[in-house]
């Protein structure tokens, strides 16, 4: 009997119930879209922030950046240490391998021009295809690391053997244009290069010229060696634990150490890179690593607050409508009461009707919400939003609570009705 009544009520008031279902669907789709976008926005923005370039610098143990500062370079005993090219793939096998976005090795090569003036020449990967021991493969290198570079002409490819890329300052000093040739002397041999591209990086790199890594190794006679690696990794903002760990990982208790090791702190990723590269020291580039953390935190908080606002809006909208639509059924309820229905029966009847309608609406809304989330993801980040199944129970719970909460004032109103008055037509 109960279910026949529910079914009857649902079918009789098709239009009204459809409206409730529609509103619930809207609210649910809003909740689904916002929660999904919110959960994924941090990750997406983090990837965007990678345009700031590498946040970790890997150098051989003992070598320092003296070359950059004093021009104390090759042969002085401090920077004659190297990393092995064959070990570079290991960077993609660490615990946080998934968080390593890109990396590029560099080999500084001693070189001078015909007139004897020394130049900054380095070999690197431009877009290098790498087969990993795990069976995966990836493409990485400068082209994806230095997205902000303004390149005239073309990027090099790793197969080019007699072409180079010059920085704007380098090109100006040597009067070079795209297509020009330049002779470079390295270890008593002369090589001739054609300028394939000129880049403007707006930094010290403009004074340099780049050739493919293999060519630089051949010129300097350092086969299979690189002098440093820049790594771009997705990291978690630093906290007290990671700061202590960065100073000395051994000072942590075993439990703290595990937490630290298994969180994508920049210091933990550095530590893991040191484990897989022989004699290496990884250093976070604080300018990039720290700022990323700050911006990420702000973005996530902002999205969270917007989500809360939209959820509150959706909740009020739904409960308003539920209240309004339950209240108008006063004459029907009055009749039931006159026939001797108990309050509990009436409440259950109304709640069941609303809950069934609501759940149908919520299911439709969930799928619409996924659609909205994907529209946002596609148009803002050019990539799909990662849909998390955990959102389903969350949305279902929210909708349920909102519907019940919205029905309570209406049910109280219905229970207080006097059947005689209602049926009389007041």
């Amino acid at each position: 009997m109960f279910f026949r009544m529910v079914k009857g009520a649902l079918l009789r008031q098709k239009a009204k119930m459809a409206m409730i279902a529609f509103t619930v669907a809207l609210g649910a789709s809003l909740a689904t879209a916002m929660i999904n976008v919110m959960l994924d926005a941090g990750d997406k923005v983090n990837r965007e922030l990678k345009t700031y370039g590498a946040n970790i610098n890997v150098i051989p143990k003992g070598a320092s950046l003296l070359n950059d500062i004093y021009g104390v370079g090759e042969g002085s005993g401090v920077s004659d240490k190297y990393l092995k090219e064959s070990e570079l793939g290991n960077i993609k096998t660490i615990f946080w391998a998934f968080n390593i976005v890109d990396f590029a090795p560099y080999l500084e090569t001693p070189a001078k021009l015909k007139n004897g003036s020394a130049i900054n020449l380095a070999g690197t990967w431009f877009s290098h295809h790498l087969e990993l021991p795990t069976g995966e493969s990836l493409d990485t290198g400068m082209i994806s690391m230095k997205k902000w570079w303004d390149v005239q002409g073309q990027w090099l490819s790793d197969g080019d053997t007699d072409e180079l890329m010059a920085g704007t300052a380098f090109a100006r000093q040597n009067n070079l244009k795209i297509g020009d040739r330049i002779d470079i002397i390295s270890v008593n041999k002369t090589y001739s290069f054609k300028v394939k591209g000129i880049f403007n990086s707006g930094s010290q790199e403009d004074l340099r010229a780049y050739v493919p890594l293999a060519k630089a190794q051949e010129m300097s006679g350092r086969n299979g060696l690189v002098s440093r690696v820049e790594v771009s990794a997705l990291t978690t903002p630093d906290n007290e634990l990671s700061r202590r760990a960065a100073q000395n990982p051994n000072s942590l208790s075993i439990k703290e150490w595990e937490t630290w090791y298994c969180t994508a702190y920049v210091s933990a990723i550095c530590y893991q890179i040191d484990e897989v590269m022989t004699d290496s020291v990884s250093k976070p580039i604080r300018q990039v690593a720290q700022s990323e953390g700050a911006i990420l935190e702000k973005t996530e908080l902002l999205m969270l607050l917007i989500t809360i606002l939209s959820l509150a809006g959706a909740a009020l909208g739904i409960s308003n409508l539920v209240t309004a639509s339950v209240m108008e059924r006063s004459s029907e309820i009055g009749l039931l009461k006159a026939m001797g229905a108990y309050d509990i029966h009436i409440s259950l009847l109304v709640l069941t009707e609303i809950a069934i309608t609501g759940m149908i609406g919520a299911a439709a809304g969930y799928f619409a919400g996924i659609g909205f989330a994907q529209i946002i993801g596609r148009s803002v980040f050019d990539s799909a939003i990662n849909i998390k199944p955990a959102v389903i129970p969350l949305v279902a719970f929210l909708v349920f609570v909102v519907i019940i909460a919205g029905s309570i004032p209406a049910i109280r109103f219905l229970l207080a009705l006097k059947p005689a008055e209602v049926l009389h037509g007041r």
Partner: protein, 380 residues
């Protein structure tokens, strides 16, 4: 006669609102929530570039001043002149630096004199263990320097070298803190400009100045061009990596909030509209009675629209106020800064609420008005 009709119309609208207090309250609430979301989100949307722009300054300097090509240093006055081309509100910090190669224990190091209070602003990413120098004779040393000569916070060391006039000097310093940056700064020794001048001589000469300004990349390019043309001896150069990337990321963030705003607004408006439709639908009996008494369809539609305009005005005003409160709360929680009130937004919110409520009622009222009063009144 005309006056009387207006008075009667107003009386009908207001008494209808007052008589059905609780229902109208529900409708008002719906409109107010919609308006709150509208005004709150739009305020946030407009404020994001400004607020986030400030956050992005944690990447450090996005503009540097260097001496023009024919000079080896710039003087403090021309730097001041160059800085005056930037709007003071946008400047986060300007740090002049002087560099000199010095020796500690006969090993070469680079000493840098800087306005340290400003350096803390232009380079907020520096991680200092210990503290920044506060007194005369204190220095901040890079991690690498500390490793090489084994210094800790509190240790003493002596710097030797040649002054600008080629006279040898020797001065003692106390380490106040050790700085980690992951960059070349770790190989420097930082001290205040006054200490640097006392030590190495040479007044008002600046090698380089870092500047952190919260403006867009295009604006930065424009200002640098003006400075390069008008200030002699100083070349302004935007730091491309910082300014360009900031532009890309900010644009993405803003379009994210924009899309989210549009989606939320759309859904909220539909929510408001369905609530209003439900409110009209339950008044069919009243409409029927009025028609039976001789009201024209137009008169009925006009009455309902009138009620909705009232709802729209009050809901919109409430929403504009709450929306600002909400945007303010978000801004203070997220960015720890307050936002400016956009006066234009209040009338826009009210206007939008009126349009939405009126449009939401128009269709159901029209349909209700076309119904035969006899059927409605009989209770079908």
């Amino acid at each position: 006669m005309k006056m009387k009709r207006y008075a009667f119309y107003l009386k009908m609208v207001t008494s209808s609102l007052i008589r059905r207090r609780s229902r109208m309250f529900v409708a008002l609430l719906a409109v107010a929530v919609g308006a709150t979301i509208l005004s709150g989100l739009i305020t946030i949307y407009y404020d994001i570039p400004r607020q986030m722009g400030k956050e992005f300054r944690s990447y450090g300097a996005n503009l540097i001043f260097i001496p023009s090509e024919d000079k080896s240093y710039m003087d403090a006055d021309s730097l001041k002149k160059a800085v005056s081309y930037l709007s003071p509100d946008d400047i986060v910090g300007v740090t002049p630096y002087r560099y000199k190669t010095v020796k500690i224990n006969e090993q070469p190091f680079m000493a840098a004199g800087a306005d340290l209070a400003q350096a803390a602003k232009t380079s907020p990413f520096w991680y200092v263990s210990g503290r920044w120098p506060q007194k005369e004779g204190e220095a901040l040393i890079g991690q690498e320097v500390a490793d090489i000569i084994r210094l800790n916070a509190g240790s003493q060391f002596f710097i030797t070298g040649m002054t600008a006039n080629n006279k040898p000097f020797k001065r003692g310093f106390t380490v106040s803190g050790i700085v980690q940056t992951g960059g070349s700064e770790e190989a420097f020794i930082f001290m205040s400009l006054a200490d640097f001048e006392n030590m190495a001589g040479g007044d008002n000469a600046i090698d380089i100045a870092e500047c952190s300004v919260s403006v867009s990349a295009a604006e930065l390019d424009r200002v640098s061009k003006i400075i390069n043309e008008n200030v002699e001896g100083v070349t302004a150069r935007p730091v491309k990596r910082i300014s360009e990337s900031e532009g890309t990321v900010l644009k993405k963030l803003q379009s994210l909030v924009y899309l989210v705003t549009v989606v939320i607004l759309l859904l909220t408006m539909i929510c408001v509209a369905t609530t209003m439709m439900a409110a009209v639908a339950e008044r069919r009996r009243e409409i029927g009675l009025k028609k039976a008494l001789g009201a024209t369809n137009a008169a009925i539609v006009a009455e309902f629209i009138g009620e909705d305009v009232f709802l729209g005005i009050f809901g919109g005003l409430l929403g504009a106020a709450f929306g600002f409160v909400f945007a303010q709360a978000v801004s203070i929680n997220v960015f720890a800064r307050s936002i400016t009130f956009q006066p234009l937004l209040a009338p826009i919110t009210v206007f939008a609420s009126i349009i939405i409520t009126a449009a939401a009622c128009f269709i159901p009222v029209r349909r209700a008005a076309e119904i035969d009063p006899a059927i409605v009144l009989r209770g079908e």
